[in-house]
């Protein structure tokens, strides 16, 4: 079971490494979107500090959305997806591997660069730590839930826009608790409660989403 997950993760990472431009552009999208906000709102540190959690999280959702359409589309186009579906193990495990790989190249880089962007918003060290932790904990859920949307919209015209329409409403709890954790830290309430709920959501979605995506992929492959 672990073997097949690792095999998929390994293959997807290798592919991602040969196409680094994609990772980098999603990352820069995140940086640019976040940097636009102070330009639109004004440079007052108090205001920025208050807006930072929400801005960073919304930008993280959008940056994740950017790479989702390709999660299964490339494999679908060249026929690899059929082969994966025909391998003698449950498709849900394959999807788990793909979700993990997607997180490693999309969510993880966001978490690593988020503190740097947080500094631009004058966040305290505590808040920066919680921000990084929240993005680390929350983005796997984004990859998992996103995989369902990516599988449902596989091969449809206008798939990318449709995907955002399906997935963004489902991202709301992650957004609320992710931004809430940072918010609570900034206001001195402590973000532990939010973080543990975020972790619970990530575990639940990593357990549930790959199987729902696998079912959606089978529908798409019929």
């Amino acid at each position: 079971m672990l073997k097949i997950i690792l095999a998929v993760v390994g293959r997807d990472l290798k592919l991602a490494m040969r196409r680094q431009a994609d990772i980098v552009s999603a990352l820069f999208f995140f940086v640019i979107v976040v940097s636009l906000f102070p330009l639109g709102i004004g440079p007052e540190p108090d205001l920025l500090r208050k807006l930072a959690p929400g801005v960073l999280w919304v930008a993280a959702l959008l940056a994740t959305m950017l790479s989702l359409p390709r999660l299964f589309a490339d494999d679908h186009r060249d026929g690899t997806l059929e082969q994966l579906a025909l391998a003698p193990h449950p498709l849900g495990l394959v999807v788990t591997g793909k979700v993990i790989a997607h997180w490693l190249v999309s969510g993880l880089p966001l978490a690593l660069i988020a503190p740097v962007l947080g500094i631009q918003f004058d966040l305290s060290t505590d808040a920066l730590l919680v921000l990084t932790g929240a993005i680390l904990l929350g983005t796997p859920a984004l990859s998992g839930i996103g995989a369902i949307g990516a599988a449902l919209t596989l091969g449809l015209r206008g798939g990318g826009v449709l995907l955002s329409l399906l997935v963004l409403p489902l991202y709301i709890p992650v957004l609320i608790f992710g931004a809430g954790a940072v918010d609570a830290t900034v206001s001195g309430l402590g973000g532990e409660g939010h973080l543990s709920l975020l972790a619970a959501m990530t575990f639940a979605s990593l357990g549930f989403a790959p199987w729902a995506s696998a079912a959606a992929l089978k529908i798409a492959l019929e």
Binding site: R157, G180, A216, A220
Partner: protein, 248 residues
């Protein structure tokens, strides 16, 4: 065995189509009756609220619409589960037939909520937990309709839409509680209409209106389901016979 047989017979569009056709007038009549009774109670009998004046009477539309918008989503998810489990053609059609009505109810609930909010809090929109959840529910309806519209093959549309509904129905409580939590945390203003002392006539008025909306939803969904059936099964013999009969 006999029950099973009957169930499958009912699930076949050829049987369902004439049956639904006969049922629709009854549901329409029930909707009109309940609606008249509910409006009478709500508009004429129910006392004027001493705090909110006459404006509060919009709850006779607002509350039933919110109830129906949630209820219809559950019913759609139920059909979706049946469809995915037993692979019946009817379930997908029913889910698709219900979606626009559900979206309409969610929209109606938001709209009347805004109309009510203006005189009450002096603003069209408040990020109240219930209104926000209703808005997200509307997004879920729109997502479902967009997905089924984007898929050409009706079978794939039914199955993919069904799966989305099941994912949605699992998420709805999570979304609702997270929004509620978010709301209490940010201490937004919230509407407490159910908590305010409600007179029995008001409650009955609201229930009658809810029944009216319910019957209306069934009638409209059945009409839409009949249209979808004719469209999808236009090459089958029963549809040809049906259309010839209608043309005569």
């Amino acid at each position: 065995m006999k029950d099973r047989f009957n169930l499958y017979r009912f699930a076949s569009p050829a049987t369902f189509y004439p049956l639904a056709g006969k049922a629709i007038p009854w549901f329409v009549a029930a909707a009109v009756l309940f609606g008249l009774a509910g409006l009478y109670l709500g508009m004429l009998v129910a006392p004027t609220d001493f705090q909110q004046g006459e404006g509060y009477r919009i709850i006779f539309i607002h509350v039933p619409a919110s109830w129906m918008s949630m209820f219809i989503y559950l019913v759609m998810a139920f059909w979706a589960a049946i469809g995915l489990a037993f692979n019946t053609r009817l379930s997908g059609m029913m889910a698709q037939a219900l979606a626009p009505t559900g979206a309409l109810m969610a929209f109606l609930s938001l709209w009347t909520g805004a109309l009510w909010g203006k005189p009450m809090w002096g603003t069209w929109w408040v990020w109240d937990a219930r209104l926000t959840s209703e808005l997200i529910l509307l997004f879920l309806y729109i997502g479902y309709m967009a997905l089924t519209a984007a898929i050409d093959d009706p079978r794939r549309a039914d199955k993919a839409g069904g799966l989305l509904l099941l994912v949605g129905v699992v998420n709805v409580p999570i979304i609702y509680f997270s929004v509620k939590w978010w709301n209490t945390l940010h201490q937004g203003s919230s509407v407490n209409l159910t908590k305010s002392s409600m007179v029995t006539t008001m409650l009955y008025g609201m229930l009658l209106m809810a029944l009216c909306f319910w019957m209306y939803s069934i009638a409209v969904a059945l009409m839409r389901a009949r249209t979808i059936m004719l469209e999808r099964e236009r090459h089958t013999d029963w549809v040809k016979a049906e259309l010839e009969g209608a043309g005569r």
